[in-house]
């Protein structure tokens, strides 16, 4: 839209700039605090603490398998729910979708005690499984809405050619669905990397914890040295910042297509 008046343009630009300064301020604070007293030494000290690389490694392991499993499940399911006809389709879809609304806290009791019985506490697979379960509903909605927009004629054409359903899925639909799968992957990574409550509950052993436990660990272990605490915060934010810089278009699109429609 074109703004008519000069005054209006000034008003808009100044307003936006002030808001942007406010919005960047907490990030500025984080960087500034991370350099407190010892400057970059804080980063070196954080990285040299044997626990920190372990947190990062754990986070990457959990995120990797969480993404791998959930995206492969979702590729099949989104295609099935969008393009195939079968009995109970609506019911099953709503069953999964309802999971979107459930707070993690409401299932913390069953998850904790079931995992305890199965020796799944302080183990990667327990956390990975729980993270997948909470990601599937959102991921399904995201990828299915993309499949819904691919024309059905593609399926029919391939079907007439004698291609099996699996061949159509694998050779026709998968290559087309790449953008949706990429968006879901980015969201899955962010979810897993930033997960807090499940790690807090299931992973009591610092050797198995992920990056979101790093700040608590550094506050407790280092007698509350703020410089190192904030250095660890900057370090654990780096992967998400990199993701943001490269993929924010995907994230913005996913926000709207994934939103409850």
């Amino acid at each position: 839209m074109e703004l008519q008046t000069k005054k209006g343009r000034w008003f808009t630009n100044i307003g936006l700039s002030l808001m942007a300064i406010l919005w960047l301020f907490p990030i500025f604070v984080m960087f500034k605090e991370s350099l407190r007293v010892n400057g970059f030494e804080n980063y070196i000290a954080t990285l040299q603490n044997p626990n920190f690389p372990q947190f990062v490694l754990n986070s990457f392991i959990v995120a990797f398998f969480m993404i791998l499993i959930s995206i492969s499940f979702l590729a099949f399911a989104a295609f099935g729910f969008s393009k195939l006809q079968f009995a109970g389709k609506r019911l099953l879809f709503n069953l999964v979708l309802a999971g979107l609304m459930l707070p993690v806290a409401s299932l913390i009791v069953p998850l904790f005690f079931t995992l305890r019985t199965l020796d799944g506490l302080n183990s990667y697979w327990g956390l990975i499984g729980a993270e997948i379960a909470f990601f599937l509903p959102f991921g399904l909605m995201l990828i299915k809405s993309y499949f819904d927009e691919l024309p059905n004629e593609l399926m029919e054409a391939a079907h007439i050619d004698g291609a099996s359903t699996f061949q159509i899925f694998y050779k026709v639909m998968m290559p087309l669905a790449k953008p949706a799968l990429a968006t879901a992957t980015i969201y899955a990574f962010l979810n897993s990397w930033n997960e807090y409550l499940m790690v807090l509950t299931f992973m009591t052993d610092p050797a198995k914890q992920t990056v979101t436990m790093a700040p608590t660990f550094f506050t407790e272990a280092l007698g509350g040295d703020p410089g190192k605490l904030y250095a660890s915060l900057v370090l654990i934010s780096l992967p998400t910042m990199v993701f943001y810089i490269f993929f924010q278009r995907f994230l913005q699109k996913g926000m709207t297509s994934g939103a409850v429609k």
């Binding site: 990030i27 984080m30 499940f73 050619d161 915060l233 924010q248």
Partner: protein, 317 residues
Amino acid sequence: MQQATDLTKSKPKLTSVPPSAPNPIRKKERMKQNLIGWAFVAPTVLFVIAFIYYGIFYNAYHSLFSWDGISFEKVYVGFENFGRMFKDPEFYNALKNTGIFTVLTVTIQAGLGLVLAYLLHTKGVGRTFFKSVFFFPVVLSPVVLGAAFTQIFDFQFGYINEFLRMIGLGAFEQNWLGDQDVALYAIILINIFQWTGSSMIMYYMAMLAIEREVFEAANIDGAGFWRTLWSVVFPNLKGTTFTLTILGVIGGLKTFDIVWISTQGGPGNSTEVISTYLFRKSMLHQEVGYASAVAVILLAIALGITYFQMRVQKKMD
């Protein structure tokens, strides 16, 4: 698209299309279709049932018992946990705080997001940059934000209080996260900071779909900035506003991280929300049966909202 046409070209063979087949064959065909469909969705559906629906059942069952989570013995108490909960002022306190949190975050995030989206919708310098800045906190971990804001809100050395003292308004300084009357609002502010960007993006995308003529007509009529926003743009974005409200309410019920990191529900229980209350009862106080009852209520609220949302959405479409 390319892929599809290639496939058609490479295999110009036509299989015979079955004419109206007799009943048993059609039935067999349908069964085959069902099996294929189920096979595709099975991993996802079974996974969700195993983790989420099993969990709901588990909660419902254990809400009828008194159990500390440690001993083998679970004592059947019927609906006693629910009776206790509905008399527990702490439960109502958590509900009340969740309510305040939800109402304020939903309205402010939507209002601010709408204004920002509208400002970004105008032509001018740096619009992409501004959009990136406002949306950025969405990808940050609440752990990170909580810690950064702890520094900003600090009573002695915090940026807000130092700024207030600097401009001579020292009388207004607060113990932002340490004062019972203020802490909840301070946390709400952090939430607003993190999620306004997503409201903004959703409104922005929706505004792109509004016809140019609508804005132009408003302009010709001499409607000013606020007037256009309120009486022309906003009514065109009802769907987005509804979606944001639902997401915000659900978000309020889900809120845990930011509270636990900033205040752990304190001081006193002034920032206790339903999720932190549940976590405290189950994991710290070992009142597992009671916590299950709370979880049942929380699940009922969440599913009730979902049902409501689906009904309204159907009507809107």
